[in-house]
């Protein structure tokens, strides 16, 4: 039985019976056949691992900055460097995963019986096992390859975790306060961003350093050193326009007034997620405001054909600053009401209609690249803004919002990236 099939059996077993003890026994069967020389992990040991890593509160083992991602220079990277990197990130990832597991264990008991949440919890236990196991010995290239394989599986397992988690929390609203939800999810998503970034980056570095890879000076792991926010915006706007066309029968537009030629070194997936969410909000607001304020006769002729009147474009301004880039999105979407302003940064606070609460399924078109965030619906999840902010703030940036109710909203995305690589 292949490794992946074993993992899947494990997960299914866990879903059917949410008791953690049975899961660990199953795991131990899997891991003893999977790992080459390592001892069998019993229930007690896994907890010890989690406990000891979660107690790691030194900054050395629990955080990293942008420079750490590019510290080895452009690929191909030497095996020694890769192994060193593997060892470092294993510590960081295990610390993160352990903390997440403990935080999940701190949730009210009843919530853990929700199948969505318990599914996530079991995935975390598995991930801890896999990362610990596969990286226990990291000395040769083969060790690294094995570790990389495990990382890929872990990343794949958690890919669609957010909608599942969101559903679980939405269903458990009576058991946990809004504030507790927000603080849990803030920490959870922050750690999640970090672990996924490190894992995927290491996998990418390894791939780019393998002898069969063609060297491309543009990419260092996941980092694109010549990322053009303007090009990204255009790509996203095109895709979102199609979605709008399907849903509303009209296409909003985006115009870049300043900063066409700006390039930065950043992680394209992150910026793509942020811009997608923000443009999605802007486009939706623009169209709905336009439909509200403009009588149908002005934008549709007698025969139902579109006339010249279209919604105002969303204006994007891109400016390279001393330590990063600022992207301003200015729309004419009617602004945000005072009462809503307080809630937009919380989780599960979507202004999408109640009937469309299954926004998880709405217009499930895949995003332009495989970001793995599970389909860009035109709203409903309520996680877009806080998650975008988590991405922006990960390396010290920010997202700010100012609204002129009755007119439109300005969003300022501040991304911190190094000057030159």
């Amino acid at each position: 039985m292949s490794l992946w099939k074993r993992m899947r059996t494990c997960v299914h077993y866990a879903v059917r019976s949410p008791g953690s003890i049975r899961l660990i026994f199953t795991c131990s069967k899997v891991s003893s056949k999977f790992s080459l020389e390592e001892p069998v992990f019993t229930n007690f040991d896994v907890n010890k691992v989690i406990g000891s890593y979660a107690r790691n509160v030194t900054t050395k083992t629990s955080s990293f900055n942008f420079h750490d991602l590019i510290q080895f220079g452009r690929p191909p990277i030497s095996n020694e460097a890769l192994i060193l990197n593997a060892r470092t990130i294993r510590e960081i990832i295990l610390t993160s995963l352990s903390r997440r597991t403990l935080a999940l264990r701190n949730l009210p008991y009843i919530m853990m019986l929700n199948p969505n949440i318990s599914q996530i919890y079991n995935k975390y236990l598995l991930s801890v096992n896999m990362v610990y196991d596969s990286g226990a010995k990291l000395e040769t290239k083969e060790d690294n390859d094995r570790f990389v394989q495990a990382l890929q599986i872990v990343v794949e397992t958690h890919t669609n975790a957010i909608p599942t988690l969101a559903k679980g929390f939405a269903e458990s609203q009576t058991y946990i306060s809004g504030d507790a939800t927000n603080s849990f999810l803030d920490a959870h998503l922050h750690d999640r961003i970090g672990t996924r970034l490190l894992s995927k980056h290491h996998v990418a570095l390894t791939k780019q350093s393998s002898p069969s890879a063609t060297p491309d000076p543009r990419f260092i792991g996941l980092v694109d050193t010549q990322l053009s926010p303007a090009a990204l915006c255009r790509e996203i706007a095109g895709f979102l326009s199609d979605v709008c066309d399907l849903q509303y029968g009209m296409r909003p537009s985006m115009a870049i007034d300043v900063g066409e030629d700006v390039t930065v070194a950043y992680i394209p997936e992150h910026l793509e997620y942020i811009l997608t969410e923000l443009l999605k909000n802007s486009f939706r607001a623009t169209i709905e405001h336009f439909l509200k304020m403009t009588p149908a006769s002005q934008y549709r002729s007698k025969h139902g054909m579109p006339t010249g009147t279209v919604p105002h474009p969303v204006v994007v301004t891109i400016v390279r600053t001393a330590n990063g880039v600022v992207i301003r999105l200015r729309d004419r979407g009617g602004g945000i009401e005072e009462e809503n302003l307080r809630r937009i940064w919380g989780y599960s606070e979507s202004t999408f209609e109640e009937e469309e609460r299954d926004g998880f399924k709405t217009l499930n078109t895949p995003p332009p690249s495989i970001t793995g965030t599970g389909g860009s619906a035109m709203g409903g999840l309520g996680y877009g803004l806080p998650l975008s902010r988590a991405y922006a703030e990960y390396f010290g940036g920010s997202i700010d919002l100012e609204t002129c109710f009755g007119w439109g909203t300005d969003v300022y995305v501040n991304i911190k990236t190094p000057q030159a690589i």
Partner: protein
């Protein structure tokens, strides 16, 4: 313009003593006069504090002040302040007069008490101590005024109020100078809080006073008068775009007079340009003036560095249910990141900057005060008090106080609005100004504005 020495001989109407010119604090002791009483303080050789508040008697008499400070000021709703839709009668005027008679000393007592708690090193500063003395004198004056029972009493009371308004005209520049000079004597957050509470309290007291005087005048002129938004020249019907254009014209002419051949960006309007709303005209002019001044100043600096014609400033006006929202969007280069943490503080960043401001700005501010005092002297007979805010609004662009934003914030937030600044470093700034529409009968109560 009268010289400083002639001011010495004008008499204070309330008690016929010498005037409360703040400059008295700096004159030689022999000219000092304390309402016909001598005290231990007279023999106080150090030129630290002005005589009337330095005596030990002042310490022991503080009981009265503490009694007033212990009371809480009655929160005044906007309806009460503007007396919307009420029919005026004798009784209502007298009621209003007595309300003001009680509220003013209470609110002043809070501020005096605040000042008493400040470190000695701060209050011994000339400017702060003159404000302290002024407040204490005013507190006593109003406190001692007997209960108002007739319209004649009210007439006398209004005279006293007018006197008070004119005496307090120059308080803001004095506070500003004091803050600059004392910026390294006290924790900056504490100083910010002090300034904020002083200014907020001042706004509320002045509006209360001006409103009562205006109601009295209107009632005496025509007893069947129905109060409306126009009452008291306090709440004006403003046209949003017109106000901005007027402030723009003023700021532009001031800037041109100092920097002759440097291009100033034009304003381009969009949005609900014809919006009208009721507001305190002088406040709005000051705030918009400050915002435009900042933009022009930044534009000028940018032009001097890179000789490119400045892009026009986009002014967006939006008519929301409770607010009118202005957005000023410029491309004047943005705010340097080091300054951003200190944007809303009265006490600016690193010490070197403060000392620099200190010596550069104080002489110019003194000129404003002198002018104000001179105009006070001329205008004592008139009914309309002069506003120190207006004098700040028309100051020269070379006088950079570094307080435009924090002051604007206080004035905007007093009525439930807000000011926000978003800067894009190297590109430009967006300033968002939310102004509450005071014409509606908003239910909000200025509980914190005491």
């Amino acid at each position: 313009m009268r010289s400083r020495s002639t001011l010495l001989y004008d008499q204070c109407r309330t008690c016929r003593c010498l005037p409360l010119s703040p400059y008295r604090a700096r004159r030689p002791r022999s000219f000092a006069h304390r309402h016909g009483r001598t005290s231990v303080g007279e023999r106080f050789n150090s030129s630290d504090m002005p005589p009337s508040t330095v005596s030990s008697r002042h310490f022991y008499q503080n009981e009265t002040l503490l009694d007033y400070a212990a009371r809480s000021a009655k929160p005044v709703s906007l309806r009460q302040l503007a007396f919307f839709g009420l029919k005026l009668t004798n009784e209502k005027i007298i009621q209003s007069a007595n309300f003001v008679r009680q509220e003013l000393p209470t609110r002043m007592a809070h501020r005096i008490h605040d000042m008493q708690s400040l470190p000695y090193s701060v209050v011994r500063n000339n400017h702060i101590s003159s404000v302290y003395e002024l407040y204490y004198h005013s507190f006593n004056t109003i406190r001692r005024f007997p209960v108002i029972k007739t319209l004649e009493d009210n007439g006398l009371f209004c005279d006293v109020l007018r006197e008070l308004l004119t005496h307090h005209t120059a308080v803001i520049p004095h506070l500003v100078m004091g803050v600059i000079e004392c910026s390294d004597l006290i924790d900056s957050k504490r100083m910010d809080r002090f300034m904020e509470s002083m200014l907020r309290s001042r706004i509320s007291r002045r509006v209360l006073t001006e409103q009562h005087i205006a109601l009295t005048d209107a009632f005496l002129k025509d007893p069947t008068f129905q109060p409306s938004e126009q009452v008291g020249q306090v709440f004006f019907q403003c046209s949003a775009a017109d106000v901005v254009r007027q402030c723009d014209a003023l700021a532009r002419s001031l800037t041109r007079s100092s920097y002759e051949d440097i291009p100033i960006p034009e304003l381009v309007f969009e949005g609900d340009v014809s919006t009208k709303f009721a507001y305190v005209a002088s406040h709005l002019r000051y705030i918009v003036g400050e915002i435009l001044r900042n933009t022009f100043e930044a534009s000028l600096e940018r032009y001097q560095a890179i000789r490119i014609l400045p892009a026009p400033v986009l002014v967006t006006i939006s008519d929301a249910p409770q607010h009118v929202i202005f957005r000023f969007s410029d491309q004047a280069g943005g705010i340097p990141p080091e300054i951003i943490p200190y944007l809303w503080s009265f006490v600016k960043g690193p010490r070197s900057m403060i000392r620099h401001h200190n010596f550069e700005q104080v002489p110019a501010l003194e000129a404003i005060v002198e002018e104000l005092e001179a105009s006070v002297g001329h205008a004592t007979g008139q009914k309309k008090p002069i506003s120190s805010l207006a004098s700040l609004t028309t100051r020269s662009p070379t006088l950079r106080l570094g307080m435009g934003l924090p002051m604007s914030k206080i004035y905007a937030e007093f009525w439930g609005g807000k000011v926000a600044v978003k800067s894009i470093d190297g590109f430009g700034c967006d300033v968002f100004l939310h102004i509450s529409k005071l014409g509606n009968e908003s239910r909000f109560v200025q509980e914190n504005n005491i």
